[in-house]
């Protein structure tokens, strides 16, 4: 569950500002956010993920008030309970597929990289069809395969909240459907909440709710 109240955010050295008086996403919801570039969709995802901190207001994720948490606590929450998928995949080219999937364990310092975690990584790779490519460097993968690696990384800790920033933006039709199927399956199986930013009207029917963000950020948000 996500609950936002009186949120205000402004980038340093920029005129851009985001204001969300009130907004709520129920547990298990599948929400797509649409809107023109630069309207603040990605910024809101970063705020929900605890990557950015608002100037004022409240963001509650799974009963955790992000604003009152320390950096480390926000990071810990993100590592354990929030999965992030990006349009540009954001994989590390000097790591192979398996190491990229396990990167949250290695870099966070709070997750233990044990046998269970390795088996979980291999299982996820198997589920998305890249099991045979675990030892390959990501530069040798196709775009669709790279996004599947990124999704495996996001799902490694079985997060309760999935935040996806244009996850199909760089994919062809076939890979687009494949990636959405993977996300659908995960949400269905785990009852996780899915919030996706997209510009693609063709995939909107995959979501329970669609929010036009351009209207949303100039007027008070509607509770979903």
């Amino acid at each position: 569950m996500i609950r936002i109240r009186d949120l205000q955010f402004r980038y340093e050295h920029s005129d851009f500002s985001l204001r969300v008086p009130q907004w709520k996403v129920s547990p298990g919801a599948r929400l797509a956010m649409i809107g023109p570039s630069g309207c603040g969709k990605t910024t809101l995802l970063s705020l929900i993920a605890g990557i950015l901190v608002p100037a004022s207001g409240s963001i509650v994720v799974d009963d955790h008030e992000l604003v009152s948490l320390s950096d480390a606590a926000r990071r810990n929450l993100r590592v354990r309970h929030i999965g992030l998928v990006f349009q540009e995949f954001e994989l590390l080219e000097h790591l192979n597929v398996l190491d990229n999937i396990l990167l949250p364990c290695r870099i966070s310092g709070t997750l233990r990289l044990d046998r269970n975690m390795r088996e979980r990584a291999e299982l996820l790779a198997d589920q998305v069809g890249i099991r045979d490519k675990l030892r390959r460097y990501v530069r040798r993968l196709s775009q669709g395969e790279r996004q599947r690696v990124a999704i495996c990384r996001a799902l490694l800790t079985t997060p309760r909240l999935l935040l996806c920033d244009e996850p199909t933006g760089n994919l062809d039709t076939k890979n687009k459907q494949h990636v959405l199927d993977i996300l659908d399956d995960y949400v269905t199986q785990t009852q996780a909440t899915l919030v996706t930013v997209t510009h693609d009207p063709e995939i909107l029917d995959r979501f329970d709710h669609v929010l036009d963000f351009s209207q949303f950020h100039v007027v008070d948000g509607e509770a979903l």
């Binding site: 993920a49 993100r78 992030l84 080219e93 000097h94 290695r106 870099i107 966070s108 997750l111």
Partner: protein, 394 residues
């Protein structure tokens, strides 16, 4: 391996060429000044040890350094010659005794050192096999000289011709190897030692030919003038001294006037040495006396001074290279901003990400320093052999 070390290692391994170049640069920066100073220091020790074991040298007036290098290391051309009788002049004072050296000749591989048996005792040279020379035309080889010429006692070496186009000149002398010395790690290892008379024979001051007073030689005799016999060119000249013809070898002239290149002088005591040095102060004399240790100390001091400047230059280049390496890492951070941001987004703390990046630099620096230390240890270990080979025996 910790996760931080693993991530740092994977980055370096993936960019292995860049990593190797950086490590090589660090290795060179650290090693060059250390290695250079090790070599210079070791060279100085090698140079000085031989010089310090040679109290005084007498030689023709000229370059003092060349006299020392030629007499101690058999390097460089002899600056000139002095008369053999100069030894008598030294010994008549009662202040010391002299060992003659004649280093003007060579075989194909090695310098020929004409001297006396005293030299072997003076340098404490031990035989590995065979015996010391006892007859004209015999020679004893240093360990390296024997190896280079691939000879053992019973074999022979030939003196090198002095001038290829001197048809009427002295023919090379075939010398019989009677002994090989144990290796000493000094220039003696590559010398061919002969008796001083053999050295003069190489020069042609002594020679051997068939006896012209016998009936068999009558056809080669052109005429007899009082006590001189004038022979034709058909007279057989000996180019090898054998037990059969050794009696036919003879000197023309007074051996006291024959040339040598230097005299090693062992003064009876320090006072005698000082007195001897005083005898040769007059610059009008054709000979001079030098203390090799003093001459080489000057040389070593110069080498150290030059080495100091070179080290300073290397360190300046090193500082510039280190700055460049620093710049490479900073630029690399710029290029990796997105990667760093990704690590942060998926849960990496600033300190942990910084640790990964710092460890990458640390691994490069540590590997470079470790390699440089290894090279320095190897240099230290091999420097004795290396400097002997490079500085003394080259």
């Amino acid at each position: 391996m910790s996760d931080i070390a693993y991530l740092a290692w994977r980055y370096l391994a993936y960019h292995r060429i860049k990593t190797l170049v950086l490590i090589a640069a660090v290795t060179l920066i650290v090693y060059l000044p250390i290695g250079l100073n090790l070599l210079i220091g070791r060279s100085a020790v090698e140079l000085m040890s031989r010089a310090e074991s040679t109290p005084l040298l007498i030689g023709a007036r000229g370059s003092r350094l060349e006299l020392v290098l030629n007499s101690l290391y058999f390097e460089s051309e002899a600056a000139g010659t002095l008369r053999f009788e100069e030894i008598d002049r030294v010994e008549q004072t009662g202040w010391g005794y002299g060992i003659p050296l004649d280093t003007r000749f060579r075989t194909a591989h090695s310098p020929v050192v004409g001297t006396t048996l005293d030299y072997f005792e003076f340098r404490d040279l031990q035989l590995a096999e065979g015996r010391l020379m006892g007859m004209l035309g015999e020679c004893v080889l240093g360990a390296t000289a024997a190896r280079d010429a691939q000879v053992r006692p019973g074999g022979h070496v030939i003196s090198a011709p002095q001038a290829f186009l001197d048809i009427g000149g002295v023919y090379p002398l075939k010398m019989h190897v009677v002994g090989v010395l144990q290796p000493t790690g000094t220039p003696d290892d590559r010398a061919v030692f002969v008796d001083i008379k053999t050295s003069w024979t190489i020069q042609g001051l002594a020679h051997g030919h068939q006896d012209l007073s016998t009936a068999e030689s009558a056809d080669d005799v052109l005429g007899v003038d009082q006590d001189r016999i004038i022979a034709s060119a058909a007279v057989v000249q000996y180019n090898e001294v054998t037990p059969e013809n050794v009696a036919d070898f003879h000197f023309h002239g007074d051996p006291g006037t024959f040339p040598i290149t230097a005299i090693i002088v062992q003064p009876r005591d320090q006072r005698s040495g000082t007195l001897l040095e005083g005898r040769y102060l007059d610059e009008d004399q054709p000979v001079q006396i030098v203390a090799p240790a003093e001459i080489l100390a000057d040389l070593v001091q110069t080498v150290f001074a030059v080495g100091g400047y070179v080290t300073l230059g290397i360190m300046m280049v090193g500082a510039a290279t280190l700055a460049t390496i620093g710049l490479v890492f900073l630029l690399s951070l710029q290029l990796r901003r997105r990667e760093i941001e990704t690590m942060r987004k998926i849960g990496g703390g600033r300190a942990r990400i910084a640790a990964v990046l710092t460890l990458e630099v640390a691994i490069v620096l540590a590997a470079g320093v470790l390699l440089a230390a290894t090279l320095a240890i190897l240099t230290s270990w091999a420097s004795a052999t290396f400097t002997r080979t490079l500085v003394l025996l080259s």
